[in-house]
């Protein structure tokens, strides 16, 4: 945390997947999974990337660390544009950024023991093996709250929460600075989720980590994140710090999403906005992607012109025609 520039800054990120069809499997169109997305994550902070399935949040997260090759855009990590790096340079750069996956079981190789899984990055990057590697692995196991005797076990012998701890230990093995967390607790039970979230926050403080936290669960996001960016069909519709997002959501989609969180607090009887329709596979060619489901009073231009993300307050950006640029 030496200077004020953000650790990660993404500008105009795009990822189009070709849609093939017709004669000879020609490219007949593009699925715009991520369509011109920009955001930044300050050092040591957590940005929540929120959206429903199909919103492009996972694709965006994987593009950031180039696990998926972006179609276009600039990704500045600590001032260096990752897009200009060769594969070789990128491989080394990757040590600084690691990913935690949604399904802990599937992200661990079932044929390797926990010790082998966590030791793998140590071998790849530091050529550590034998005793030295084992000591480091044991250390990492303790850091994530596992025990020595877990070293020789196989992933399938663990509960989901423990598997996720293994995934975290593996990511920490390379001393990363950025963690991309793709729905890290959505496969876990609440009491275990609480354990893992606590662990993540403790590690963030201890190792000065920066998080890109991808989730559809606004309750978890509210607890974890400093800033929140909401995605809908490949675009960001609203960005603000978490308090603003939850207290004064501006975009109609954000409002609907927040009202749809099932809360248990009996006092919190809010007005429930139930959105009609569902996310369709393709965006409208023009206009606001949310227009077909928008419960607000629509303006004429909603159907024809795509709203830009504009700053309506310090640090609060919205892409909606209801909030024109001041």
């Amino acid at each position: 945390m030496t200077n004020g520039s953000p650790l990660l800054e993404v500008r105009h990120l795009k990822k189009y997947f070709p849609i093939r069809g017709g004669f000879l499997n020609r490219r007949v169109g593009d699925l715009k999974a991520v369509d011109d997305v920009s955001f930044s994550v300050p050092r040591g902070k957590t940005l929540g990337l929120v959206g429903e399935s199909g919103s492009g949040k996972t694709t965006a997260g994987k593009c950031v660390i180039r696990l998926i090759e972006p179609t276009a855009g600039e990704i500045y990590f600590d001032g260096v544009d990752l897009m200009t790096l060769s594969d070789r340079e990128m491989r080394r750069r990757r040590l600084d950024m690691q990913m935690i996956y949604q399904s802990p079981a599937a992200s661990l190789n079932g044929r390797m023991t926990i010790g082998q899984i966590i030791a793998e990055p140590l071998w790849i990057h530091e050529r550590l093996r034998g005793r030295q590697a084992k000591e480091r692995v044991m250390e990492l196991l303790h850091v994530v709250g596992l025990k020595d005797e877990h070293y020789y076990r196989y992933p399938h012998e663990f509960s989901g929460g423990q598997q996720q701890r293994v995934g975290i230990a593996r990511a920490l093995a390379v001393n990363p600075r950025l963690l991309v967390l793709d729905e890290p607790t959505s496969a876990l039970d609440v009491s275990v989720q609480a354990q893992v979230l606590n662990l993540l926050q403790r590690l963030q403080d201890e190792f000065e980590l920066t998080f890109l936290f991808i989730s559809h669960d606004l309750g978890v996001v509210r607890h974890m994140c400093d800033d929140v960016a909401l995605m809908y069909m490949g675009v960001i519709v609203e960005v603000a710090d978490f308090e603003t997002i939850f207290e004064e959501p501006k975009h109609p989609y954000t409002q609907a999403l927040i009202s749809a969180i099932p809360e248990i607090d009996p006092a919190a009887s809010r007005e429930e906005i139930v959105l009609q329709g569902e996310l369709s596979a393709r965006q409208p060619v023009q206009g606001c992607p949310f227009a077909p489901r928008c419960p607000a009073n629509k303006l004429d231009i909603c159907e024809t012109i795509r709203p830009e993300l504009v700053e309506i307050q310090e640090g609060h950006q919205v892409a909606c025609h209801l909030y024109p640029a001041p």
Partner: protein
Amino acid sequence: MVEQSESPVQSQYTLASARWENFRRGVYRFRRNMLSMVGLGILVVIIIVAVIAPIIVPYPGDATGDVHPLDRLQAPSSEHYFGTDKVGRDIFSRVLMGTGLALQVGTVIILLAAGIGVTIGGVGGYFGGWIDDILMRFTDIFLTVPALILAIAITAALGRGIINTMIGIALVWWPGFARLTRSLVLSLREEPFVEAARGLGANHARILFRHILPNAVSPIIVKMSTDFGFAVLTAAALGFIGLGAQPPTPEWGAMINDGRAYFPDEWWVATFPGMAIFLLVFSLNLLGDGLRDVLDPRARR
């Protein structure tokens, strides 16, 4: 807040005990499958027979060239359990002595075929694109020609003999392994743990050999065990038309061919080697089904 570990404490856990535990689970599942046990039982008996055949058979010399023209074509009796063939050799001795050869032939063919097939399928499936296209079209060429005929052609071109037979059969056998491996690799390649390995900076070789192929190994081994029997059968077929092992090697296929002229009157000449082939193929097929369970540490039940 202190992090709580979730697991009940179990000390004395070592790599060996972890593997042993998995193995025991596998054996448990295997044993619940009666037919696999039968298959395994028959196979064990066959292997033991192959090893001790030279000691127990009454006329070991009959497998290496002895002839007894005076005793030709005798029916099964207490002296010749399976009868004798056209030059008076004891069929019981020859069938038992042929067991080892059959096992060797199957092993070599399968290892060779799996080696070629897994490499081609694995590389094609992993890299995809034009590499995959080229390798798979190459595979398709082999698949379009009937396997047996191609094997006959290759063996004939290489010259008669048991070694050439094995090479010929292996060269037509691998496309099955290539196709299987490719399909397995294609789906495994998309697994998160493979992506995680990529994110950790692992290179292609490491991802393919350490992460993808170990997870593809059980279907491949299952195919190896079921194919083993058919490979022996194919070798026998080539022996039957005279391309395989040359006399007096006690090769089962060649022995059936010998017996063909005397069927059905002197039925024993062809029947007993035939039954030997049947037993071996049958046991390996049963075994293959059961192996699937033993080999997968994740399938708990």
